[in-house]
Point group: C2
Chain length 129, copies 2
DNA sequence: GCTTGCTCCTGTAGTGACTACAGGAAGTAT
DNA sequence: ATACTTCCTGTAGTCACTACAGGAGCAAGC
């Protein structure tokens, strides 16, 4: 049974974030010592680590919580995990496409910009439309 | 001089968003009619449209405001516009790279997931680390 | 025994860029 | 006169934290 600072170090999740997850019901409330301080088990740290990894993969906190629930069930519901992940992959791809579109538009707008220009073609273009 | 609803229609910026931009000092406070309703000029609508386009290109509201200020100056400071845009392009590319990294990681994690699996290799992988 | 410094506690407010009301007043159409 | 629409102000909610404020407890050194 370790304190929150140690749980934070072991999981890589910030102390304030751990307390936030608890408030939001993402992780169960941990045990408390006689002095009211939170006490974490290795399993609690495992939960935090799973959340950390899911967040690093870009899952929303809600989806990360779903992953955690799936892992907790012990049934290891592979199809559900796969569906969640594939939905997320689709979302990531959608974002990539959108950003590439933006990049192309920005490139096009700056194409005619030169340091010597008296009036800016990009501004002109932005003000038209 | 048009009302806020019409300015919203002409610019594509939502009514609540227009009032938000005013509150935040992004656009100047418009004229008011005797009945206290906001009155917008064609120039006001032009400002909103420029903001709209910058936001659609992914610029932060702060950067969009800078663009607007550059356009207002009339000097059409092309180098400044170009610098802003190129900084933003770099940011967009950074995001694309990051998302591609995420996608690859997700693909790798789901690669061994099959509907028939008893235990989920993705969950197992996520819980290791 | 006392001070210093660390960790912990609760509760609140701030971030970005809106969006969604609540509750009311004024204008327009029938 | 009534119904409908638009407008007003002000506040709270979104997401996922992050940053305090203000206090309590505990360990180590003097």
């Amino acid at each position: 049974m370790i304190a929150i600072g140690e749980a934070s170090r072991q999981s890589g999740v910030g102390i304030e974030t751990i307390r936030y997850y608890e408030r939001e019901g993402i992780v169960p409330k941990p045990a408390r010592a006689a002095n009211n301080r939170r006490l974490y088990t290795a399993r609690d740290v495992g939960r935090l680590r799973l959340l950390k990894r899911c967040r690093a993969l870009g899952f929303s906190l809600a989806d990360a919580k779903t992953m955690l629930d799936l892992a907790e069930q012990g049934s290891d519901d592979c199809p559900a995990v796969k569906a969640l992940a594939e939905g997320h992959i689709a979302e990531v791809r959608r974002k990539i496409t959108e950003l590439e579109r933006l990049e192309a538009a920005l490139q096009e707008l700056t194409r005619n910009c030169a340091s010597g220009n008296v009036s800016c073609p990009m501004l002109a273009e932005l003000q038209d439309a």
